[in-house]
C-alpha cells in the first residue's frame, strides 16, 4: 500500500541578508561563500531524493500577520503563495506553489489531534520562507517541489513552548505516515541560532552554545524540548528562541537520524547553521520485518 513518509529534515537560517546575497549573485564573495556553499549539498540531496512535498517551518515577520490578530501556529493550504513586500519592495521571485490536497488533510488531522492551528487560504511569504527556499532551489530550479508553510509565533509572547513545537513535529509525522498515497516529505526547520536583534544586547552570540545546540538537535532533541524560553534566550539571545522551529522539523523525524551535512558560519549578528538529517524510519517496525524475513 502506498503511503506518505518523512524522508528527512533540513535546517537552515532564514535571515534576509542571505537571500539577498544569494539572489544577487554574491554567493562566491569571501564574506558569503562559507555559508552559501553550505547549500550545495542540500540542493544535491533534494535532487537525489526527489521529495513530493516540502513542509517548511518558519515565522512571519509581521508581513502576513500583524499583532491585531496573531496566531500561535498557522499553516497554508493555498495553491500558490504571493511574495510579500516587507517594506523595501518585493523580492523578484515567482510565486511559490503549495499543496492544497495534503494541506487540508494536515489541517484536519492536526485539529483532530488537538493542535488547533489557524488555516490560511492566502499567505504571502516573507524572508522567513523565501531565504531558505531561494537557497535550496537555485534560480533554474524554482520551485520544483510544492511547499506547505507552517508559521510559528516566535515574535509576540506568549510563544508556544519548545515541547509543543517538538510535539507538533511528531503529530506531523503521524499524519504523513497515515496518508494513503505516495508522498515523500522533507521537513525544513528554519531560524538562526544565537542572535538578538533588539536592545543594547543587539548582536549577542555564543558559538559554544550554538555548537551544543547542533549536537543536541541531532542526538537529544527532547533535552532541547524541555528548555524554557528564558533558558534559550539566556544562552543564545532573545531572538534565538526561534530555534523552537527546528524542533518541529526534528520532532517529525525518527528518534535516531543520520546526519549527512552540518555547517556553521557566524559573519555578523546571527549564528547560521545548516544540517541534513536523513530519516531512519520506524526502527521497531524494521526490526519486526527483519525477524519475519529471518523466520
Amino acid at each position: 500500500m502506498p503511503h506518505g513518509r518523512i524522508i528527512g529534515g533540513l535546517g537552515s537560517p532564514h535571515a534576509p541578508s542571505i537571500g539577498v546575497a544569494y539572489n544577487s549573485g554574491k554567493g562566491d564573495t569571501p564574506s558569503w561563500k562559507p555559508l552559501i556553499d553550505g547549500y550545495k549539498p542540500m540542493q544535491a540531496w533534494l535532487e537525489a531524493k526527489k521529495p513530493d512535498l516540502m513542509i517548511i517551518v518558519a515565522n512571519d515577520h509581521a508581513n502576513s500577520f500583524f499583532f491585531d490578530r496573531y496566531p500561535t501556529f498557522a499553516l497554508s493550504v493555498a495553491a500558490e503563495h504571493e511574495i510579500a513586500d516587507e517594506g523595501w519592495g518585493k523580492w523578484p521571485l515567482p510565486r511559490v506553489p503549495g499543496h492544497s490536497e495534503f494541506g487540508w488533510q494536515l489541517a484536519h488531522s492536526l485539529v483532530d489531534q488537538e493542535f488547533d492551528i489557524a488555516v490560511c487560504q492566502e499567505l504571502p511569504l516573507d524572508h522567513g520562507c523565501l531565504t531558505p527556499l531561494s537557497c535550496l532551489f537555485p534560480p533554474e530550479r524554482r520551485w520544483w517541489v510544492p511547499v506547505i508553510p507552517i508559521i510559528v509565533n516566535v515574535l509576540q509572547p506568549p510563544l508556544p513552548t519548545a515541547k509543543r513545537c517538538y510535539d507538533l513535529g511528531r503529530a506531523i509525522r503521524r499524519i504523513v505516515e497515515a496518508y494513503p498515497k505516495k508522498l515523500d516529505v522533507v521537513m525544513v526547520g528554519t531560524g538562526g541560532l544565537s542572535h538578538q536583534l533588539s536592545g543594547e544586547r543587539y548582536g549577542f552570540n555564543d558559538t559554544a552554545w550554538d555548537s551544543e545546540f547542533l549536537d543536541l538537535i541531532e542526538t537529544d532533541p527532547e533535552r532541547l524540548a524541555r528548555m524554557t524560553h528564558q533558558e534559550l534566550m539566556e544562552r543564545g539571545g532573545a531572538d534565538s528562541v526561534e530555534e523552537i522551529m527546528w524542533l518541529v522539523m526534528r520532532g517529525a523525524l525518527s528518534p535516531k537520524v543520520r546526519r549527512v551535512h552540518r555547517n556553521y558560519y557566524l559573519p555578523m549578528v546571527t549564528g547560521f547553521a545548516q544540517v541534513i538529517f536523513e530519516d531512519l524510519g520506524d526502527e521497531a517496525a524494521a526490526r519486526k520485518a527483519a525477524s519475519r524475513k529471518a523466520a
Binding site: S17, A21, S31, W32, H61, A62, N63, F66, F67, D68, A84, D85, E86, G87, W88, G89, L155, Q156, P157, P158, L159, T161, Q196, L197, S198, G199, E200, R201, Y202, G203, T228, H229, Q230, M233, E234, A238, D239, L266, P267, M268, V269
Partner: protein, 143 residues
C-alpha cells in the same frame, strides 16, 4: 518587585505611561531575571507599543514610503501618533522604541524609510556608532 510600581497610573492611557517592567506569571519567562539590554514585548508593554507598531506596518506600502520620504510630519499626523511617539521617530530613537514595546521587525521597516539598514539600526539600539559596532563583528560587509 513592588506591584504598586508596576501598575499603570489610573486614568491614563497605556501608551502615555512610564511603565517599564510588566511582570506576568509565566512558566517560560522569568520576570525576576530580566536579561541585560533586552526588552521583551510582553503584555502591556506590547500593548503600549501597538499604535507605533501599526504605524511601522504602513511602510509595507510603497505609497506610504514615498509619502513619508516627502513629508514625514504629514504622515505622522495622519496616523494620529502621540507627541512622544513622534519624537521617537524624529530622533530615530530605536532603542527607546524597543523599550516602549515595538518589535524589532517593525522598527526595521521604519528605519528603512530613513535609509538606515538593519545593522545601522542595531548599532543605535546598542547606543554605539556604526563604526564601533562593526568593529565587534567577524565579517564587516556581509550586510
Amino acid at each position: 518587585m513592588d506591584p504598586k510600581k508596576q501598575a499603570a497610573p489610573a486614568g491614563r492611557p497605556l501608551w502615555e505611561t512610564e511603565v517599564e517592567v510588566l511582570p506576568i506569571q509565566s512558566r517560560q519567562i522569568d520576570f525576576e531575571r530580566p536579561l541585560h539590554g533586552t526588552y521583551l514585548t510582553t503584555g502591556l508593554r506590547a500593548q503600549r507599543g501597538y499604535r507605533l507598531s501599526k504605524f511601522c506596518m504602513a511602510f509595507m506600502s510603497p505609497e506610504t514610503r514615498d509619502a513619508f520620504k516627502a513629508d514625514p510630519e504629514r504622515v505622522m499626523s495622519e496616523m494620529a501618533l502621540s507627541d512622544y511617539e513622534k519624537t521617537l521617530i524624529r530622533e530615530q530613537n530605536f532603542n527607546a522604541m524597543v523599550r516602549y514595546g515595538v518589535n524589532a521587525f517593525m522598527i526595521f521597516k521604519l528605519a528603512n524609510a530613513f535609509g538606515v539598514n538593519q545593522n545601522q539600526t542595531g548599532a543605535k539600539m546598542r547606543l554605539q556608532s556604526f563604526e564601533e559596532f562593526i568593529a565587534t563583528r567577524n565579517v564587516k560587509d556581509a550586510l
